[in-house]
């Protein structure tokens, strides 16, 4: 039943519409129509569009056609052996290749185009001013991509069942292959959606289209190559390590999908809204997953040396995330201030999740420090059970010390630099990301080039001059020769490692102090109460959410409520000088019926 039919059915008096349809097909249609009420509107719209779309029909027919051709060719080339020899694996490889192209390239590219196309056709703005949230928009687009992938999978499903009948391949391998391909398809589609939100410029979008196709072909090629290797021989199903690796792969893929989808949603969210907290929570979970999955080999195989890797991996991950986070704007919008924790404890523990480059910087640094402390503790615990591991004690401890110092120094420097540059070139998080790469490259290459200039023989000698080169420093630490390094190239004095530690410590203290000073506005930002008009509306619309919002700060109950009596107000002789909040106007800055000239503006400078 189309929307028009449903509409006309609505026009008929209710007594006439109550009668049940005779046909079971009609009933299914009506149930489907009722079910669609609760589906994402974009999913419904794109489903309707896809049914009429020439592109989808052509791709679908091509997939079917290729599968048929492969089946015919396979049967012809394997006959008559196909009747008594296992041939399923070879056939599955062919079907996998047929399916991989739409799943890993076509569908993700269409996901990219679907968001980019909305911008080009001028429909994105219409969509963004509906009551749908940006997450709903992205989920709808992703849902549409998932459904398209499922349709392709369904088209190939009989062929895949055919491979099982031909024997030579077990159901677990088939399931794992198809499942991983499906997961990769969703991951790529999520990436496509994120890229689709990257720019409004048509020129940039054309460039991004080309880059997306290239990236999908390369990514798809890597996934296909890896899966074909897995298909070529029987995976070690009886090895716990294999399943641990699969678990890590699947969990990181799912976490990656969640992160990409939420990042895409954040990038299309209205600028005054909180776009950071959810992303930081997801990043925190992924950070915990990295630590968790690296604990497996350390505990299961009792290899305490693996613990050294945990801080380094965490530094790579948080360095990447941090390079984006430190590029956020420093100013908090009044809307964001409304969601700041009320209590002091809440501000101490939850303010790091609030938007802003300063809060973000300390959030990232805290995570790196936490990972390093965890690694040191884990190593200590492993050392108790396995005394042989004490050989790595010095290296592990040094890695755990050096890692937070690098995080504080590099991200602190990039943050200060990016905040200054953003005033001239407001590129936001992209600027800080590219700046991070440049600073890292310069910090690694310049000292090396300096040594090479001092003398060709010094080019490959690690010295304290290489303090800013994390790659070489980590290599020397793990190699166990960090503390034997010379202070200056060719001086023959050992103890360069201590000098590196001292230099890193001093620089990180300086960076931390400077970043604290430049983040004071964010750290000391006070919660703003929502205007009464907003509270009334919220109470009417979402009474339950309104009631629970009052207790959103889990630490609020620890603090005694600050009741202000009339006497207290009188006791403060300067209280009348302070601007009062929430006195009836929409922005809480002045009474709504006051003359326009007397009201201050609602925002200081949203454009930064």
């Amino acid at each position: 039943m189309s929307a028009a039919d449903a509409m006309s059915a609505e026009a008929v008096p209710q007594s006439e519409t109550v009668q049940l349809p005779h046909s079971w097909l009609d009933r299914i249609t009506i149930w489907g129509e009722r079910g669609s009420e609760y589906l994402n509107p974009i999913l419904v719209k794109e489903g309707r569009q896809a049914l009429k779309s020439r592109h989808f029909v052509v791709t679908f027919m091509l997939v079917l056609f290729c599968a048929w051709i492969w089946t015919l060719l396979g049967v012809a080339s394997n006959s008559p052996g196909i009747y008594y020899l296992p041939a399923g694996r070879g056939f599955l490889i062919g079907y996998y290749l047929v399916l991989a192209i739409p799943a890993l390239v076509v569908v993700p590219f269409m996901a990219f185009r679907s968001l980019a196309g909305e911008r080009e056709d001028g429909t994105f703005e219409l969509l963004s001013i509906t009551t749908m949230s940006s997450r709903q928009i992205v989920y709808g687009k992703l849902g549409s991509a998932v459904i398209q992938t499922l349709v392709y999978f369904c088209a190939i499903a009989p062929c895949i069942a055919f491979t099982y009948l031909l024997s030579g391949i077990d159901i677990l391998t088939i399931g794992l292959t198809i499942g991983l391909l499906f997961l990769a398809s969703i991951l790529f589609s999520s990436g496509g959606l994120l890229v689709g939100t990257a720019s409004r410029s048509k020129l940039v979008m054309v460039l991004l289209s080309v880059l997306t196709v290239i990236a999908l072909l390369i990514g798809g090629g890597i996934v296909t190559f890896w899966q074909l290797i897995m298909l070529s021989e029987q995976p070690p199903y009886d090895d716990v390590g294999f399943w641990a690796a699969m678990g890590a792969l699947v969990s990181f893929s799912i976490a990656g999908i969640v992160l990409l989808v939420n990042a895409a949603a954040a990038s299309i969210t209205f600028a005054s809204e909180n776009r950071s907290t959810r992303l930081r929570a997801i990043m925190l979970v992924i950070g915990a997953m990295i630590i968790g999955w690296w604990c497996f080999p350390a505990i299961n195989y009792q290899q305490a040396g693996v613990v050294q890797v945990i801080p380094i991996f965490c530094l790579c991950y948080w360095g990447l995330m941090g390079s984006f986070i430190v590029g956020e704007r420093g100013a908090l919008s009044p809307r964001v201030r409304r969601s700041l924790p009320r209590s002091t404890m809440g501000r101490v523990f939850l303010a790091w999740f609030c938007p802003g480059s300063g809060a973000g910087y300390f959030f990232v640094v805290a995570n790196v420090i936490g990972a390093s402390i965890f690694a040191a503790v884990l190593y200590g615990a492993a050392d108790i059970f396995d005394p042989d591991t004490s050989a790595f004690a010095e290296e592990t401890l040094t890695v755990c010390i050096v890692t937070p110092l690098y995080a504080i120094s590099y991200l602190g420097f990039v943050r200060l630099f990016a905040q200054g540059l953003n005033r001239l070139l407001p590129l936001g998080i992209l600027l800080s990301f590219f700046l991070g790469i440049v600073v890292l490259v310069v910090g690694s290459i310049v000292p090396w080039a300096l040594q090479a200039l001092l003398g060709p023989s010094y080019a490959y000698e690690y010295s304290a001059l290489q303090a800013s080169n994390p790659f070489w420093t980590y290599y020397r630490i793990i190699d166990g020769e960090f503390y034997d390094a010379s202070i200056l190239p060719g001086d023959g004095l050992s103890g360069g490692g201590f000098v590196v530690l001292l230099a890193l410590f001093c620089f990180s203290v300086l960076m931390a102090l400077l970043n604290v000073l430049t983040s004071l506005d964010e750290i000391l930002a006070e919660r703003e109460e929502a205007p009464v008009r907003v509270e009334q509306d919220e109470k009417e619309l979402h009474p339950k959410r309104y009631a629970s919002a009052a207790t959103a700060d889990p630490f609020a109950h620890l603090e005694r409520p600050r009741n202000v009596s009339a006497g207290d107000a009188e006791a403060d002789p300067f209280s009348h000088l302070e601007k009062r909040n929430g006195n009836g106007s929409a922005d809480g800055s002045g009474p709504a019926d006051a003359p326009i000239e007397s009201r201050p503006s609602a925002i200081e400078d949203p454009a930064g």
Binding site: A4, K45, R338, V534, S565, R599
Partner: protein, 332 residues
């Protein structure tokens, strides 16, 4: 008493329609060194139509986009039904319908599917959605074209569809950016009637247009903007009155005579309160400085002087005249 309890309550007018439904408060928007919107403030009460006039690049669309939560101001704020477009865009969106100057339609979708999609997007489900669809299609006259693909619609019909889309969730405020652009005369008249009916239903409408005569007919108040600055606001009469208060009131008078227009022209030229006398056929035109009673006296004296007057029309400055007087044709 807790601090939260101490805060004064919202003015009761918010829920009784006494406060402005649209309010721009000291709005600024800069694009690089250019101020697209420069200190613009105005209010639109419930059920009123506000005509927003200005040359291309004056800042109309920018301020409408800020009001519609599509852009952020550099300073200031815009309010819809008392909610800030900057800080409460979600609440503003529930109350606002925006009709941009571009159509924004999807491929492979027919009229009813298009409206159905937006009804769902505004959270309408079940009977509410079907009712909204039926109401909107009847109002816009698209019910006979429900199954027609959007790509096959004429420009006028597409404009109706876009109006339908913007009012599908029954918003209290409608913002229309150049809704009559490119429409034929019939479609324009129909659109004007629809806007009138919407205002009659209590909706507050902010409409921009280049067709000034139509705006003058449909708007309760107008705002003239140029180079980002709001030069004048009020009803057309108010603005005209304000303009003429500064200079001497001059009306253009048109007299149709049965005969002898040359003699009449000479007679008029001799009068001190008459200027720019010319004639075309039996019509004599002149500019008259003075009020209505002066015009009546001139007419009486014309008749007494023996001229056979068939028609006497005094035309005050139109919206176009007001617009031309207020603006300078400057662009940025």
């Amino acid at each position: 008493m807790a601090i939260a309890e101490q805060r004064p309550q919202a003015p009761s007018g918010y829920h009784q329609g006494q406060s402005p439904m649209i309010e721009l408060r000291r709005l600024y928007r800069a694009f690089g060194p250019t101020w697209a919107v420069n200190d613009v403030s105005f209010e639109v009460p419930k059920g009123a139509v506000f005509g927003y006039i200005g040359p291309n690049g004056a800042g109309k669309t920018t301020s409408m986009r800020i009001l519609s939560t599509l852009d952020l101001p550099t300073f200031g704020d815009a309010y819809v039904d008392g909610f800030s477009s900057v800080n409460d865009p979600d609440r503003v969106r529930r109350r606002l319908g925006y009709m941009p100057d571009s159509f924004g339609t999807y491929h492979d979708v027919n009229c009813v599917e298009y409206l159905d999609f937006f009804a769902r997007s505004y959270g309408l489900i079940g009977r509410d959605r079907h009712r909204a669809l039926r109401r909107t299609m009847e109002f816009t006259g698209l019910d006979v074209l429900a199954e027609k693909p959007i790509s096959g619609l004429s420009k006028g019909m597409k404009q109706r569809l876009c109006l339908g889309r913007s009012m599908i969730h029954d918003p209290a405020v409608l913002i229309m950016d150049e809704p009559a652009a490119g429409l034929d005369p019939r479609a324009r008249i129909e659109l004007r009637e629809m806007i009138g009916r919407l205002a009659g239903d209590g909706k507050s409408i902010l409409v921009s247009s280049h067709i000034l005569t139509e705006l003058a007919e449909m708007s309760d108040r107008i705002g003239i903007i140029e180079r980002g600055r709001l030069l004048a606001t009020g009803s057309v009469d108010d603005i005209r009155r304000r303009l003429t208060a500064k200079e001497k009131h001059v009306a253009t008078v048109q007299v149709r005579l049965m005969s002898n227009p040359e003699a009449c022209m000479e007679w008029l030229k001799a009068r001190p309160d008459v200027e720019n006398v010319r004639y075309s056929g039996t019509l004599v035109f002149y500019s008259h400085a003075g009020d209505r009673s002066d015009e009546a006296r001139t007419l009486r004296e014309l008749v007494v002087a023996g001229f056979e007057v068939a028609e006497f029309v005094s035309r005050e400055s139109s919206l176009e005249d007001v617009f031309l007087k207020v603006t300078r044709g400057a662009v940025q």
